[in-house]
């Protein structure tokens, strides 16, 4: 009898807790509690930032030591590859300088939109993703520094992601490789598509690429900035990794390797730019 009563009580507790959890999830998606939850999360991020910064400062050198020891063989091969790449880049630099001169003339005449001239806020990554299922990082800049939700985040090489949540002193950046990340891009001969993240370490997948489009591995991919795009135009995103034309389909499968190595990211710049309303 006592055991039966205890079992009933246990099941009732389970049902109540499950229902409350489902209610919380539903409220998160639909109700006005999203703002409250966001505020709580931002507050927690601000409160934990000093701890994260301190531990990151201690663990970074240790992590780098182990990474260096483990990757020594790979580092030698990569060094040789990079030397070849430097030579190619020097040649491209000269070509780019000539193209820049032409572009400057064109811009001065036609006033085309361009990513340069956007004010930026420099920040440092203080935390890796807290969840294994969302690819977000935390930076040590927040609303008090001029960072706002929706602002693009870049590094020296190109696009990193965008700000999804901003507390007073910290902000959460959703990385390009997060499956929820969608970026309007342009590549090849003016082909526009949407780049979607496929997860940690995986290339981005371009959607809505016409089967008839012509491109090649290595082609640069930049943000398109079309209409109400979430990013200004011209920010480097990556390079085409592979193109696959599937017979009978209206679209091609194009994979893009991000330019930024998101696994060793440390410093970023938040562009103080918001999509037009």
């Amino acid at each position: 009898m006592a055991a039966s009563r205890r079992n009933t009580s246990q099941r009732l507790t389970l049902v109540i807790l499950v229902l409350v959890s489902i209610t919380l999830v539903t409220i998160t998606y639909r109700g006005g509690a999203r703002h409250v939850i966001s505020s709580v999360r931002n507050g927690a991020g601000d409160a934990l930032a000093p701890v994260q910064r301190g531990v990151a400062a201690v663990l970074h050198p240790i992590g780098n030591l182990f990474a260096g020891m483990a990757g020594y063989g790979g580092a030698l091969g990569e060094n040789q590859r990079l030397q070849v790449e430097v030579g190619q880049l020097r040649r491209q630099l000269i070509e780019a300088q000539q193209a820049q001169e032409q572009l400057d003339q064109l811009l001065s005449e036609q006033n085309l939109p361009f990513a340069d001239g956007i004010p930026e806020v420099l920040g440092q990554m203080i935390s890796s993703p807290s969840s294994n299922f969302d690819l977000t990082v935390e930076i040590d800049r927040g609303t008090s520094n001029g960072v706002g939700v929706g602002m693009p985040v870049v590094s020296g090489a190109g696009l990193v992601g965008s700000v999804v949540s901003a507390g007073q002193h910290t902000a959460v950046v959703q990385l390009l490789t997060d499956p929820r990340s969608l970026v309007g891009v342009r590549f090849g001969n003016g082909i526009v598509a949407v780049a979607q993240g496929q997860g940690e370490g995986d290339p981005l997948q371009l959607q809505y690429v016409p089967e008839t489009s012509v491109t090649y591995p290595g082609a640069p991919v930049v943000t398109s900035g079309l209409d109400v795009a979430a990013y200004p135009s011209g920010i480097p995103v990556g390079t085409v990794a592979s193109v696959r034309h599937t017979g009978g389909s209206l679209t091609s499968q194009v994979l893009v390797t991000p330019l930024v190595n998101l696994s060793i990211l440390q410093y970023v710049a938040v562009l103080q730019w918001l999509p037009p309303a």
Binding site: A2, A3, L14, L48, S127, S128, S130, S131, N132, S165
Partner: protein, 179 residues
């Protein structure tokens, strides 16, 4: 559960926040890291039984969800189910859980909890994780749970003031084991 129990449990949850955010998040293996909250939820089921364990796991989930960008309440839902299942399995043994049982529960709870989180996330509209990545996440989380299972159980035994190795909610231990 007394106020003292909840106070001690709150202290453990607070320490878990700092451990997760400050240490475990910085140590990624293949892009995945251990989940101390899932570990504590499993241990709550082992130590406090299905009912109390589920309550503690629910509270842990609420705390864990503050630190992430996934829907609020998703972690609570997963942890409650895992803790309850572990608690029922422990109660069915009808004797105090051995170290081997703790490790087995941590392994199965780690695997099951992670898959449950991924599955429920996909069900409510979260983008699904690529299969190869999910395998890495499951392996890393389960390994973390196995390595730290005994320590987590000892901490929760201190919190719920149960004699070490005893089971809080099992019928045969209920009258004599709680201090």
């Amino acid at each position: 559960m007394t106020l003292r129990t909840w106070g001690r449990f709150g202290l453990i949850a607070l320490v878990a926040v700092f451990v997760q955010v400050g240490i475990l998040n910085q140590i990624a293996v293949g892009g995945a890291h251990a989940d101390v909250f899932l570990l504590l939820a499993i241990s709550a089921g082992l130590v406090a039984g299905p009912q109390r364990g589920a309550e503690m796991a629910f509270a842990l989930g609420l705390v864990a969800d503050v630190l992430v960008q996934t829907p609020y309440g998703l972690s609570s839902l997963c942890y409650v189910l895992v803790a309850f299942a572990v608690g029922v399995a422990t109660g069915a043994m009808n004797r105090r859980p051995t170290l081997g049982f703790q490790v087995a529960a941590a392994l199965l709870g780690g695997v099951g909890g992670t898959l449950l989180f991924a599955g429920l996330g996909t069900l409510i509209g979260q983008p699904s994780v690529p299969r190869h990545q999910l395998v890495i996440i499951v392996a890393v989380v389960a390994a973390g749970c196995v390595l730290l299972a005994n320590l987590a159980c000892r901490l929760l035994e201190w919190a719920v003031a149960v004699a070490p190795g005893a089971h809080h909610d099992a019928g045969i231990f209920a009258s004599g084991s709680a201090r």
